[in-house]
């Protein structure tokens, strides 16, 4: 099993701009990992930070420049080192039999769902994708999902691309239009979006998996920083939960 306990220096082999603030970094290394699992990425002199895997072979991370660490990452060039440890946490599970999967990504939450979609398509599942963002400039990775043969629905809050509104505004329409009706729903995005997805009437009748976000420090279940709900650790019990862990205690 390919896993890095210690931060491992990996050369950057690819840098792909995804939009004005986001790049996908490919690294010279692979991990045995499930989509939804995360790694702690590190640059000496900076804090290490959790990132969901956008791919495991090769390791790839889709990162928006939003803080000191991610801005430093955006200054890296091909051949530079990025340090990675992981994979950590529990990821998404795919159904055993071929099914129609509905993936819902908000903002940067789209990245791990591309990893999930690739795995899903390779395993014979049909994959439909809802991508939501504030505006067309913030949309991520839609062509990559289309290249997999997935049907993609877009929503933007300002209506500059796709349906105006939020991802939840598209769910009932997609469920009505998509044939066969999707049986499994996977979501990744801001906490408010996940809560709204879990509260959808349709979610009650479908298998649901949500990748939760929380403030992480140690990343390995000891410090308690990422507690969510009644004593659940996002880094160890999650980040993927079967429901809103605040409302429904994980099994």
């Amino acid at each position: 099993m390919a896993r890095f306990h210690l931060p491992c220096a990996l050369k950057i082999t690819g840098i792909m701009p995804e939009n004005a603030t986001t790049k996908t970094f490919s690294l010279a290394g692979r991990l045995t990992a499930d989509p939804g699992q995360f790694v702690m990425a590190w640059l000496p002199g900076f804090e290490d930070k959790p990132f969901s895997l956008a791919g495991a072979d090769p390791i790839s991370l889709t990162v928006a420049a939003v803080g000191p660490f991610s801005r430093a990452m955006h200054r890296l060039e091909m051949g530079d080192n990025l340090w990675v440890r992981g994979p950590l946490g529990r990821g998404y599970h795919l159904p055993g039999d071929p099914a129609h999967l509905l993936l819902i990504g908000g903002g940067y939450g789209v990245a791990p769902l591309l990893f999930l979609a690739r795995r899903g398509v390779a395993a014979g599942h049909r994959v439909s994708m809802i991508i939501g963002a504030r505006s067309s400039a913030d949309l991520l990775l839609a062509p990559a999902f289309e290249a997999l043969g997935s049907r993609v629905w877009l929503t933007t809050e300002d209506g500059s691309a796709g349906q105006r509104g939020r991802v939840t505004d598209a769910i009932s329409r997609v469920l009505a239009e998509a044939s066969p009706r999707p049986s499994h729903m996977y979501a990744c995005g801001p906490t408010g979006m996940l809560r709204a997805v879990a509260a959808q009437e349709a979610a009650a009748t479908m298998s649901l998996q949500l990748a939760w976000e929380a403030h992480m420090r140690c990343g390995v279940g000891l410090c308690g920083s990422c507690e969510v709900g009644q004593g659940w650790l996002t880094c160890l019990d999650g980040p993927v939960f079967q429901a809103d862990p605040v409302v429904v205690p994980p099994a």
């Binding site: 210690l6 000496p44 804090e47 290490d48 080192n81 308690g224 004593g231 160890l236």
Partner: protein, 312 residues
């Protein structure tokens, strides 16, 4: 977790299991401590609190160096006043589970230790653990008080004089003679000893040449700490009659049995939660009961100090 094999006494408490959630491990909220209790902890220890709030060190704060873990969280805590509220809530939630709550305190001076103890005692924890041995804040707090008999005894006496309930003093492994320190704190009024805190260590990332932890150095826990802890507990048990919370690298039921045999009355569990998840407590308890059954032992007291009774 109700197994008659595992029921035992510690100070005035009747415990369901001899396992204690160690300080600094998920002891940050009532809900997490209740979860530890539901999973098999006989007692739970809250994360150490000091006089005022502390954010702790920046990331990275933990390294898995394969022989164990190295951490320098940096005593993240909300301060004694806020901690007292958390302890009150936690104790109320633990009461129906019959799991005693241990508060943990640290401070920078002897007088501050007494002051923090008084604030924390207002929440009526079942036991106060006096952390005189955190290795990760040396720049701010000087040499840990656990380093000499005099400083360890001075803190112990000050805390004991400040509170009515029982206290345990948590000792450091990196001293020339831990048994002498233990004797000094018991002489100064400690009701129990917690042994041991983590062992100072370092991890360097070879490609960059940098220490991995932002604090540069940290405390070693997990499997690498176990033989050190067994030796310390063994020597303390020879020197003092006070009960010992034996802590360091216990990850399996057999590890727990060994710690009891070295002379511990109960067994702290910390890093095992990294290796096995929060259910580690229940798994260790189950394994300990199975080990006892296989060995024809039916009470924890038969394990306690067993290594001291073996002839060469």
């Amino acid at each position: 977790m109700n197994n008659p094999f595992l029921e035992c006494e510690f100070l005035d408490f009747s415990l369901r299991t001899p396992l204690v959630l160690a300080s600094g491990i998920i002891g940050t909220s009532a809900t997490l401590m209740v979860r530890a209790a539901q999973n098999g902890a006989g007692m739970v220890t809250a994360k150490s609190c000091g006089p005022g709030p502390r954010e702790g060190h920046p990331n990275p704060v933990v390294v898995d160096f394969e022989g164990g873990l190295l951490n320098a969280i940096g005593l993240t805590n909300p301060g004694a006043e806020a901690e007292a509220g958390l302890l009150t809530e936690t104790r109320q939630q633990l009461r129906p589970l019959h799991v005693p709550l241990i508060a943990s305190i640290f401070a920078g001076t002897v007088a501050e230790f007494a002051q923090v103890a008084r604030v924390v005692a207002s929440s009526e924890p079942d036991l106060i653990e006096v952390n005189i041995s955190c290795p990760n804040v040396g720049d701010e707090f000087g040499t840990p008080f656990a380093g000499t008999c005099d400083s360890a005894a001075a803190v112990t006496a000050a805390v004991k004089g400040a509170v009515a309930g029982p206290i345990a003093v948590k000792l450091a492994p990196n001293v020339p003679d831990i048994a002498r320190i233990a004797a000094a704190v018991v002489e100064a009024g400690a009701d129990a000893i917690t042994a041991i805190n983590t062992m100072p260590g370092m991890a360097i990332e070879p490609v960059s040449g940098r220490p991995i932890l932002s604090n540069r150095v940290g405390g070693i826990s997990g499997p690498a700490l176990k033989p050190i802890a067994l030796r310390c507990v063994y020597e303390i048990a020879q020197a003092v009659p006070a009960p010992i919370i034996g802590t360091g690298g216990v990850c399996t039921g057999q590890d727990a049995a060994e710690m009891l045999m070295a002379g511990a009355s109960v067994v702290g569990v910390g890093s095992a939660i990294y290796y096995r998840g929060v259910s580690a407590l229940g798994q260790i308890a189950q394994e300990l009961a199975e080990f006892m059954e296989a060995q024809g032992l039916s009470t924890i007291s038969q394990l306690r100090g067993r290594s001291h009774r073996q002839e060469r």
